[in-house]
Assembly symmetry: C2
Homo-oligomer: 137 residues x 2
DNA sequence: CTTGAACCTATAGTCGCTAGAGAGATTAGA
DNA sequence: TCTAATCTCTCTAGCGACTATAGGTTCAAG
């Protein structure tokens, strides 16, 4: 039996976050002591590690809910889990592409800034005038 | 004189967002008609384009507030603006690096998934067992 | 003058937590 | 057994940057 603090230390998930996950239905409401404190079993420790891991990979609570649901049914086809991961991978790649555009634009703006006053600062001018930009963003 | 709708169409910033920016102090509260509707001048159109542009580059409201403030004083040194842009560039790069790690991890997980049921699905197993992961994340 | 589009304010919701208050429970040591 | 320290409880509010909705008012074209 683990207290919520034990669980937190073992998984690296903060205590209020564990309670939040319970509220969101990612983990089941555990048994309580007579004094109303949560007591967990190994099963919940594993589930929470799973969640932690998925969050580290950037999956949304909603996606994790589906994965947790799936993982409870080992006999089902795994296409659903695969799809969630593939979709997430696509969105990660899209985000990288978008950030790279920003990176280039910012590099360009910063490197052009030779001004000493705001009046001739390329950073300010580039923001004021879209015409100075390289592409879409 | 532009209505809030005109401003929205010309800048691509949605109407509620314009009102939000006013509340946040990014744009000054404009004059009103007798019937209490906002009427803007060209000056505010330019300011809003500036803001839009900076938001597109991913700058925070707080950073934009500083840039707007600076742009009102063309005689000041532009080191402050430069610093904001450089710092933002660094944070964009950090985010890219983090996302690339996730990309690789997800690629690996997805490509290993040859299972037909959840029970032997690599996606689920990788999430359940951190030992299957490649590195830190 | 009528009508329909545009505008107003105020409030609540989004996501994934995090912080704080104030009260009660547990546990280790004396 | 008592006490003090630590842990845990619930509830509420806040973050950032909007977005949505409701219910009402004003504007402008015909």
């Amino acid at each position: 039996m683990y207290s919520i603090g034990d669980l937190s230390r073992k998984t690296g998930v903060k205590i209020p976050t564990i309670r939040y996950y319970e509220q969101m239905g990612l983990i089941a409401a555990p048994d309580r002591t007579e004094g109303n404190q949560r007591r967990y079993e190994r099963r919940e420790l594993e589930r929470l590690s799973f969640i932690r891991h998925a969050r580290d990979l950037g999956l949304s609570i909603e996606a994790i809910r589906e994965l947790v649901e799936l993982s409870q049914h080992p006999e089902k086809p795994c296409a659903g889990a695969d799809e969630i991961a593939v979709e997430h991978l696509a969105s990660v790649r899209a985000k990288i592409a978008q950030l790279k555009k920003l990176e280039h634009e910012l590099e360009r703006i910063v490197s052009h800034c030779a001004g000493h006053t705001v009046g001739d600062c390329y950073v300010i001018r580039a923001l004021s005038d879209h015409g100075l930009c390289d592409g879409e963003h």
